[in-house]
C-alpha cells in the first residue's frame, strides 16, 4: 500500500489552524508616540555606543528633533481634522485619537521640549574640573560623598541617561490621556511613572534628599498603581471588558445580551463603584489631589528642579487628561455618584493646598502646595461635566504648565554654594540684586495668583465659569476664597523679593545659557499672551472639547 495510506492508519489530519488576522494599526495617527518611543530607544543605543564626550550633544539633538517632529505631526493630525470630524479610535480600540488627546499631546510635547531645555542646562553649576555639568548626578550609582563620586565628578561624568528617560516618560504621557481601554491606561501610567521615579533620584546636589524623594515617590506611586490595577480588575469583572466603550455601554445598561451565568458579576454595581473609585484614586494620586497629595511636597522638593518642573507640568496634564476621559467617556452614566465625591475632593484640595502653603519656607515646597491648590481649581472645571468644562480644563492645563516650568526654571537660577538656594529667606531682596529675574518670577507668581492680564486669570476664569454654568456655584465661591488665601503667600514671596533688604551673603543669580533663557522666555510669553489675548487658544480648546467614544 502507499505510504500515505499507511500513514493514515494511525494518524488523522487535524483541520488546518485558523489564522489570527494581524491587528490593524493606524501608524500615522500613533506616530507622535512612536516617534518619541523611537527617540527614547535611540537614546538608549546612544548611551551604549556613542563615546561619553559626545553623548550629551547627541542626546539633546535626538530628543529635541523627536519632540519637534512629534509636535509637528500632532499639529498635522489636528489640521487634518482628527481632532474634530475624523476623530476616531485607533489601534483596535486601544487609543483614542480625538480633540482632547491631540490637544493634550501637543501640550505635553511642548512642555517636554521646554522642560528638556532645563534638563540640558549646563551653565548654572560651576564647572567641575573644567567640565560643564548639568543638574544631574555625575554617577547615580556612586554613593554620595564617597570617593567614587568624587572620581566620577573629576572625570566629568554626567548622567546623560536622563534624556532617554525623559523621552520614555513623555511617551507614556502621550498615551495616558488618549488611552481608550483600562489596560492601555495602566501601562501608560507605568511607562511614564517609572522613568520619573528614576529621574527624581538623580540630583547632583542634595543627593540624600533626592534619593529620599525617589523612594517616597516610588513606593507611594507603586502603592497607588496597585490600587488602580485592582480597580481595573473590578471594572473588568463588572463589564467583562476593559474597553471604555463597552464599560460605558454596560453602565448605561445598553448591553442586552447578558449571559445569565455571569449575572452575579456582570453589571454588579458594587464592583463598578468600588472599581471606579479605585481607578479614580490612581488618577487623583497623579494629579496630587487631597488626600492623595502627600507625596507632592516632598518629591517636588527633593527631585532635581528641572525634573520637578517637568513633572509638575506634564504629569498634571496627562493625568487630568486621563481623568477627564475616564469621567466623561466611561462613567458619564455614573455622574450622580461621582460628582458629589469629586465636589468634596475639589474643595478639600483647593483649601488644603492653599492653607498649608501659607506657612511654607521652601520655595519648591511652596510651589508644590500651590500646584495642589491649582489641581483643586482644575477639578472644579472637571466637575462641570460640560463641553465648556472640558475645554476650560484643557486651556487651564496648557496655561498652567508653562507658568510652572518657567517658575521652576527661575528657581534653578538662584544659587549659592550649596546649589540652589531654595529657602525663602535666601530670596530676600532679590529684586534689588537682579530686578529682571525677580520681575519675571513675580510675573509667574501673579499668574499663579490669577491676577488679570495673566494666563492664570484667563484659566481660572474659564474653569470657574464652566463650573458655575455647570451648577457648581458654591464650588466657585470656595474656589474664590481659597485663591484669596493663595494670593497671600504668592504676595509674601513678592514682598520678600522686592521690599526686604538684600542679605549681604545672599545667593547669586547665575547667568543661564540660552536654553534656560528660552524656557523662561517662553513661559513669560505664554503667560502674557494667554492673559491678554486668549481668544485663539480658547477657541482651540473649545474645538478640542469633544471626546470620541
Amino acid at each position: 500500500m502507499s505510504a500515505a495510506a499507511v500513514h493514515s492508519l494511525w494518524t488523522t489530519a487535524a483541520d488546518p489552524i485558523s489564522k489570527i488576522d494581524a491587528p490593524k494599526i493606524e501608524y500615522g495617527q500613533l506616530s507622535p508616540t512612536l516617534i518619541i518611543v523611537g527617540a527614547a530607544i535611540l537614546g538608549v543605543l546612544i548611551e551604549a555606543f556613542v563615546p561619553r564626550r559626545s553623548r550629551y550633544h547627541a542626546q539633546v539633538f535626538v530628543s529635541v528633533v523627536a519632540l519637534c517632529a512629534a509636535f509637528a505631526v500632532v499639529v498635522a493630525l489636528a489640521a487634518d481634522g482628527y481632532g474634530t470630524t475624523k476623530a476616531h479610535i485607533a489601534a483596535m480600540g486601544a487609543i483614542a485619537v480625538d480633540g482632547p488627546s491631540l490637544f493634550l499631546q501637543g501640550t505635553i510635547l511642548l512642555a517636554g521640549l521646554v522642560g528638556l531645555f532645563t534638563f540640558a542646562e549646563r551653565r548654572l553649576d560651576p564647572e567641575a574640573h573644567g567640565n560643564r555639568v548639568d543638574s544631574f548626578a555625575a554617577q547615580a550609582a556612586s554613593v554620595p560623598g564617597s570617593d567614587s563620586e568624587k572620581a566620577a565628578v573629576k572625570a566629568g561624568f554626567t548622567t546623560t541617561e536622563v534624556f532617554p528617560l525623559l523621552m520614555f516618560a513623555v511617551a507614556g504621557m502621550l498615551v495616558f490621556p488618549s488611552a481608550n481601554d483600562l489596560l492601555t491606561l495602566f501601562i501608560a501610567l507605568e511607562v511614564f511613572s517609572l522613568p520619573l521615579y528614576l529621574l527624581c533620584a538623580l540630583a547632583r546636589r542634595k543627593r540624600l534628599m533626592s534619593q529620599e524623594a525617589a523612594v517616597k515617590y516610588f513606593l507611594l506611586g507603586a502603592f497607588a498603581s496597585a490600587f488602580t490595577l485592582f480597580g481595573i480588575a473590578l471594572l473588568y469583572g463588572y463589564a467583562g471588558s476593559v474597553s471604555y466603550a463597552t464599560i460605558a455601554q454596560v453602565v448605561d445598561g445598553t448591553v442586552t445580551d447578558v449571559d445569565p451565568a455571569l449575572a452575579n458579576t456582570m453589571g454588579n454595581d458594587a464592583l463598578l463603584l468600588i472599581g471606579g473609585a479605585m481607578v479614580l484614586m490612581g488618577l487623583l494620586f497623579k494629579v496630587g489631589a487631597v488626600p492623595f497629595h502627600m507625596w507632592t511636597p516632598d518629591v517636588y522638593q527633593g527631585a532635581p528642579t528641572p525634573v520637578t518642573g517637568f513633572m509638575a507640568a506634564a504629569t498634571k496634564v496627562a493625568a487630568f487628561g486621563a481623568l477627564l476621559r475616564l469621567l466623561y467617556v466611561v462613567l458619564p452614566g455614573l455622574r450622580w455618584d461621582w460628582r458629589p465625591v469629586m465636589w468634596a475632593v475639589a474643595i478639600v484640595t483647593m483649601l488644603g493646598g492653599a492653607i498649608v502653603a501659607i506657612t511654607q519656607t521652601d520655595i519648591k515646597r511652596l510651589l508644590a502646595y500651590s500646584s495642589i491648590a491649582h489641581a483643586g481649581f482644575i477639578l472644579a472645571g472637571v466637575i462641570a461635566t460640560s463641553r465648556d468644562g472640558v475645554s476650560s480644563v484643557l486651556f487651564y492645563l496648557a496655561a498652567y504648565s508653562f507658568v510652572t516650568i518657567g517658575a521652576f526654571a527661575v528657581v534653578t537660577l538662584v544659587r549659592d554654594a550649596g546649589g540652589e538656594a531654595t529657602h525663602l529667606s535666601r530670596w530676600a531682596g532679590l529684586g534689588r540684586r537682579s530686578p529682571l529675574v525677580a520681575a519675571v518670577f513675580a510675573v509667574f507668581l501673579l499668574a499663579f495668583a490669577g491676577i488679570p492680564l495673566t494666563s492664570g486669570f484667563a484659566g481660572k476664569f474659564a474653569v470657574f465659569k464652566a463650573a458655575a454654568e455647570g451648577g457648581a456655584g458654591p464650588l466657585v465661591v470656595i474656589g474664590v476664597i481659597s485663591s484669596a488665601i493663595a494670593a497671600f503667600f504668592y504676595i509674601r514671596v513678592i514682598v520678600l523679593m522686592f521690599f526686604s533688604e538684600p542679605r549681604p551673603e545672599g545667593p547669586t543669580v547665575a547667568v543661564p545659557s540660552p536654553l534656560t533663557m528660552a524656557t523662561i522666555g517662553i513661559g513669560v510669553a505664554v503667560t502674557v499672551v494667554l492673559g491678554v489675548a486668549p481668544q485663539y487658544f480658547l477657541d482651540l480648546a473649545n474645538q478640542a472639547g469633544v471626546f470620541v467614544r
Partner: protein, 99 residues
C-alpha cells in the same frame, strides 16, 4: 468550586499587601507587599476572565507581570542606592523632608 471564592482570596491578598505596606518599615518588605497586591490583582483578573469566559483578563495578567518586573528593576535600583547611602533600608529613616 465557585470561582467567586477566588475573588475573595484576591481581595484578601490585596488587603494583606496593603496592610503590609502600611505597617512594615523595611523598604524591601514594603515593596514586596506591593508586589503582593499586584499579584492579587492578577488573580482577580484571571478569575474574572474565567467567569466571563473571555481571555482579556488572562492577557492582562501577563502585562501586569511585565509591569511588576519593570517596577522591580526601577524600585530595587532606587532602594539599593538609598540603602548604600544610609546603610539602612528603613522607610522611616528617609524623612529629611517634612512639614
Amino acid at each position: 468550586m465557585n470561582p467567586v471564592n477566588y475573588l475573595y482570596l484576591a481581595a484578601l491578598l490585596f488587603t494583606i499587601g496593603a496592610t503590609g505596606v502600611l505597617i512594615r518599615r523595611n523598604a524591601i518588605v514594603v515593596f514586596m507587599c506591593i508586589e503582593l497586591m499586584l499579584n492579587a490583582c492578577n488573580l482577580a483578573f484571571v478569575t474574572f476572565s474565567r467567569m466571563h469566559g473571555n481571555l482579556d483578563g488572562q492577557i492582562i495578567a501577563f502585562f501586569t507581570m511585565v509591569v511588576a518586573a519593570a517596577e522591580v528593576v526601577v524600585g530595587l535600583a532606587i532602594i539599593v542606592s538609598l540603602f548604600r547611602t544610609r546603610h539602612s533600608a528603613s522607610v522611616d529613616d528617609a524623612s529629611l523632608m517634612k512639614l
